[in-house]
Symmetry: none
Subunit: 220 residues, 2 copies
DNA sequence: CTTGACATAGAACAAATGTGCGATTATAAT
DNA sequence: ATTATAATCGCACATTTGTTCTATGTCAAG
């Protein structure tokens, strides 16, 4: 909240709060009479008087003679978007292939993919997307062409799936559930497919590039 | 089952587009007269007529006798997204489990899931969604909890993945690539995992409930 | 104590806005 | 060809909404 609202008289503050709440709830500004009712101000001329004061402070602007002609200025604008249907542009960094390093840096002119925010967890703005090339991720129940969404993380909790680069043997990218067992210097990498066996790799040879948060497979 | 905006008459579409743009630009809904001016409709009663039609379709709602008493319903809320990133509400019909019939009919009060239109192919308004319960779809590279989007179809082209109900042995639901081999009365059902073997089933025992068009796996 | 600025309030009025009626035309069904 | 329904339109009217006028109260400065 900016300095503009600092030391706002009680009644003006009530008017402003009412307008903000009304905007959120109704998707439109209130009328002068609605403000009077909601902020307990007995006359329309007094509401007008307060709106004029708030306009002078730059908190809102008015269009004379227009119904509901009140507009909150930033940062008082209230977004009309229902939050759960917003999508997010996630940078698409390239392809994940078993034999090549996993891309983690965006380049100029990076493509993006749109994903519904409702399907994502916290810090969605840090996510990036990779597309799977080849059948090497089959043991993760991930197919050639699948889109995976990741959060850049160098560690994950036991049992979480990550994009992992294994240094030994010339380097290999894989998607697996990662476990650091107590008392062991190895990392256990477990395929998502419960019918397949885990592998054990020295912890020093393993680089976690990101945690997998979503997999999208389009078949058309 | 159709998406709400399918086959909207040209003038209603103009009205809707005008309202959306006006909301974005002004932060409030337009008046009936502003809609008339902006969408080139000559009378207020005709604008009212179109608003009534749009309300009947569930695209918007109105408050009688209130100035600017128009509210766009989801998924027609004003969005900053370019048009090809619009989302579509797809009816979520329930769960697909190996041992139970595949749901294909929507019930009253059906939930929906939002999916980006850009990720879908043709006729997106016919699609429905199911969630996978259990590990029985692992051979399709589909995990417990995955969301699958399907188009209701009773036949698919060779090699396309479908939700299939097999009548024999008391009934079984499965997700497999379907092949009708020439000169054979059997259907060949091929797992998506290329390391696993196909099964052959008499064609009469197989009911295709829908073609799989997308699989979404959320890991958080 | 006086004065001026600001705050408060009711009510009337003008303008904006939504609704409904009646009429005409277009389209689809029989 | 007839009939029913949908689409189109102008206009009058009712209601909502914003503005203005006038009056009164409060508070700070001189």
């Amino acid at each position: 909240m900016t300095a503009k609202a600092a030391k706002l008289p009680k009644r003006q503050k009530r008017v402003l709060t009412f307008i903000q709440n009304y905007m959120q709830q109704h998707g439109r500004p209130p009328t002068v009479r609605e403000i009077g009712e909601g902020a307990e101000i007995s006359s329309t001329s007094l509401v007008s008087y307060y709106l004029k004061r708030l306009e002078e402070r730059g908190i809102l602007s008015r269009e004379p003679g227009v119904s509901r002609g009140i507009r909150l200025e930033q940062p008082f604008d209230v977004t009309m978007l229902p939050e759960d249907n917003e999508t997010l542009s996630i940078p698409f960094l390239g392809y994940i292939v078993a034999s090549e390093p996993i891309p983690v840096e965006p380049l100029p002119g990076t493509e993006t993919v749109e994903v519904n925010r409702a399907l994502l967890g916290r810090d969605p703005e840090k996510l990036f997307a990779l597309k799977v090339e080849g059948n090497s991720m089959i043991d993760a129940l991930v197919n050639d062409g699948d889109l995976i969404i990741l959060r850049p993380q160098e560690t994950v909790n036991n049992g979480e799936m990550a994009a992992v680069w294994i240094d030994s043997s010339g380097g290999e990218a894989t998607l697996k559930k990662v476990y650091r067992d107590e008392g062991s210097s190895n990392v256990r990498l477990v395929p998502a497919n419960p019918t397949m066996k885990p592998i054990h790799v020295p912890a020093d040879d393993v680089q976690i590039k990101g945690k997998v948060v979503m997999i999208i497979r389009t078949l058309e």
